[in-house]
């Protein structure tokens, strides 16, 4: 159990900056997820914490201890790798016991811990097997078990689910969450999958090109993205972005795309006032665009009309790909919708959840 501190951490590989001025405090027992597209520096950050990559500049602390020059073996961390990295020449039992044996843990204690972890993960009947004889899901469990038996201060996981099939991934996702609650240890988890981040993290750190874009709770990121990148990265299907002009008329503010004009609610208008007459980016999530016939009650609905390009029936909902002018956007609407491809469709935008971004800096206007 320990907190983690990244203090102005930089990582350079020659001229390439992999991580830029990363500054985070991760509380004890937190489940922090590093998320971002490939090459954003999330794995590098984790590897620096593990001691597998050197820190170019800055300080990393585990608890109160600066670990910059501490070798991985002395950091009291456990790590689950994407490839699982099981020792192929050892049985499942020995894979899990390896770290304990190195620490000269007594035999009975090793035996007890390995068997406990084995039954916790449902692999107690596989302990004699070699990794080669296991399925992907079972190997993944062994990798988790190898981390658990060590009872480390921090769990590090580098894309541990990406080699599993979709169904198993969903199942293991919830199991890892449960494990976190049960072990009450700090978890740091790296993924490129925003769904994994949203479902598992108590906080999420979004990275892009080595720069931290935002760190917040999943709900915080979803509701209040700081910039266009986070807004587009979190949520599926992704947020729609419209290039619009902010128009002032009779004391009210409108966003005008040329093909539609929507009135901003007062609290949004307040913040957006300085941008009157300027071009901004307007972001609307697909779930905030409704079929007008099935407008939910209590939202600030602004109507518009668009042409239906494609519809995708999901069963519980319909993804409608709409066209306004040349611009395509997605609405996630009630399955009772009568939207027909090629026909016009009346939709409403929930203006309370509209996000406005400065076009140059791509930062939110708040």
């Amino acid at each position: 159990m320990a907190s983690i501190t990244f203090e102005h951490v930089w990582k350079r590989f020659g001229d390439v900056i992999a991580v830029q001025d990363l500054d985070i405090f991760i509380e004890d027992q937190e489940f922090l997820v590093f998320v971002g597209p490939s090459g954003c520096g999330k794995s590098t950050s984790l590897r620096m914490l593990a001691g597998l990559d050197e820190i170019t500049e800055g300080t990393i602390k585990i608890g109160d201890r600066v670990v910059n020059d501490v070798p991985p073996k002395d950091r009291n961390i456990a790590m689950v790798f994407q490839s699982y990295a099981l020792y192929p020449h050892m049985s499942v039992y020995d894979n899990m016991a390896f770290g304990l044996k190195l620490r000269k843990t007594p035999k009975q204690e090793i035996d007890k811990r390995v068997k406990e972890a084995g039954s916790l993960l449902g692999i107690e009947n596989l302990l004699d097997r070699k990794p080669k004889q296991l399925s992907g899901g079972q190997r993944q469990r062994v990798a988790l078990g190898r981390a658990i038996v060590r009872d480390p201060a921090v769990f590090l996981m580098d894309e541990p689910l990406s080699n599993l099939d979709a169904k198993l991934r969903v199942q293991t996702r919830s199991e890892i969450s449960k494990l976190h609650q049960r072990l009450a240890t700090t978890f740091i988890y790296v993924t490129h999958d925003q769904t994994e981040a949203m479902t598992m993290g108590s906080r999420i750190c979004v990275l892009k090109d080595g720069i931290m874009m935002q760190i917040d709770t999943p709900q915080g990121l979803y509701d209040y993205p700081d910039n266009v990148f986070v807004a587009g990265f979190i949520g599926s299907p992704a947020m729609n972005f419209f290039d619009v002009t902010m128009v002032e008329q009779d004391g009210d503010l409108y966003v005008d795309s040329g093909t539609f004009r929507l009135k901003l609610p007062p609290e949004k208008a307040q913040a957006a006032k300085p941008y009157a007459g300027q071009e901004v980016v307007c972001g609307v999530r697909p779930e905030d665009i409704h079929d007008r016939e099935f407008t939910p009650p209590g939202i600030r609905a602004e109507p518009m009309t668009a042409e239906v390009d494609v519809t995708e029936l999901m069963g519980n909902e319909v993804f409608v790909y709409l066209l306004t002018g040349k611009k395509q956007f997605i609405a996630r609407v009630d399955p009772r919708t009568k939207a027909k491809v090629g026909k016009e469709m009346d939709v409403v935008f929930n203006m309370e959840n509209v996000h406005l971004f400065d076009r140059k800096t791509e930062d939110v206007i708040r």
Binding site: A50, G51, L52, P71, P72, K73, D74, R75, I77, A78, M79, F81, Q82, S83, A85, L86, Y87, P88, H89, F98, G99, L102, R103, R146, R150, L156
Partner: protein, 324 residues
């Protein structure tokens, strides 16, 4: 003129005969049922190789065994006489003792040094350079290496300018050092010879072992480090076990290699002053003393010594085939 015609016959005739052979048996097989043809076809492809092997390997092998029971000119059977010579003659006992020395120190030296270099060079940026330098002697023939090292080991009496590199170096560093006759002093001429072999073959072991090392995923080593292993424990617990099969292959290859060791000894000392080895003795019996019986007996002894190692290697290959 005759030679040109013969050359033409060989250049044109051999490929033509090969194609003709394939064409002929395919013509015959074409007349058979599909399943029968499929059963016979592999044997027809193997047949030429078997015939060649029989002529160039099996027949000479068997004949060597036969001759090994005959006298010097292969005229009369002498029973086990030649073998009795092989295992009792003082010169032969020296040769066997030296072969054993070579076996232990050459094999151990090349494999261990190769492993050390492979593992250590893997961690530095100038790896390619290191490996190139260590591999370089492989490109030299045994005879050339023998000549080079004869110069390196060269000796002049104390007080005179030393023309051998080693003595020259030692004398210049330690003025009181007494130059040593590396190849003539019986207390270290065998190690001096073995060192030349090690110098030549470490590169080979290094390259093969390095290949195996590179095949170990980096993440495994990182996992071990995170698990709490020191670099030595990573090596002992993960790297070494995963390289074990390659180490066995390299070791057996080196053993087969060293049992036949001949050239270095032949060039540098010709087996004098207690440096004799079995293969060199075999050469002497054959070409100097013209005793075909003894030479053949030694050949058979060497064959029997390499046989178990060969079997180990072949078994390994078979197991690898099964794994694939």
């Amino acid at each position: 003129m005759d030679r040109i015609i013969l050359g033409l016959v060989v250049v044109v005739g051999v490929p033509a005969a090969t194609v003709g052979y394939v064409w002929a048996f395919e013509w015959v097989l074409g007349r058979m049922s599909y399943t029968a043809a499929a059963k016979i076809r592999p044997w027809l492809w193997l047949l030429p190789a078997f015939v060649l092997l029989a002529f160039y390997l099996i027949y000479p092998g068997l004949n060597t065994i036969r001759i090994s029971f005959m006298d010097a000119r292969s005229t009369e059977y002498v029973g086990m006489d030649n073998y009795q010579f092989a295992f009792t003659d003082p010169a032969m006992l020296t040769a066997f003792k030296n072969n054993l020395l070579w076996l232990v120190f050459f094999t151990g030296g090349t494999v261990i040094l190769g492993l050390v270099v492979a593992v250590l060079s893997d961690r530095v940026r100038y790896e390619t350079l290191v490996k190139a330098i260590i591999f370089l002697p492989m490109a030299i023939s045994y005879v050339a290496a023998g000549v080079i090292w004869k110069l390196v080991y060269d000796f002049q009496p104390a007080g005179q300018p030393q023309t051998g590199v080693i003595n020259a170096l030692l004398v210049s560093i330690f003025p009181n050092f007494e130059p040593k006759a590396w190849l003539f002093n019986t207390s270290f001429n065998n190690p001096a010879l073995i060192f030349v072999g090690v110098w030549m073959w470490t590169g080979f072991c290094m390259v093969v072992l390095s290949g195996a090392l590179k095949g170990i995923p980096q993440e495994l080593l990182e996992a071990a480090r995170v698990d709490g292993a020191t670099e030595w424990q990573v090596f002992r617990g993960v790297i070494l076990p995963l390289m074990a099969s390659t180490i066995v292959v390299v070791t057996t290859t080196m053993v087969i290699n060293v049992l036949k060791i001949f050239d270095i000894v032949y060039v540098m000392t010709n087996g004098l002053l207690g440096t004799e080895v079995v293969a060199n003795r075999m050469y002497k019996e054959m070409f100097n003393f013209r005793h075909y019986g003894r030479a053949s007996a030694l050949a058979v002894v060497l064959l029997l010594a390499t046989l178990p190692v060969m079997i180990v290697n072949v078994r390994r290959f078979q197991r690898q085939e099964e794994i694939r």
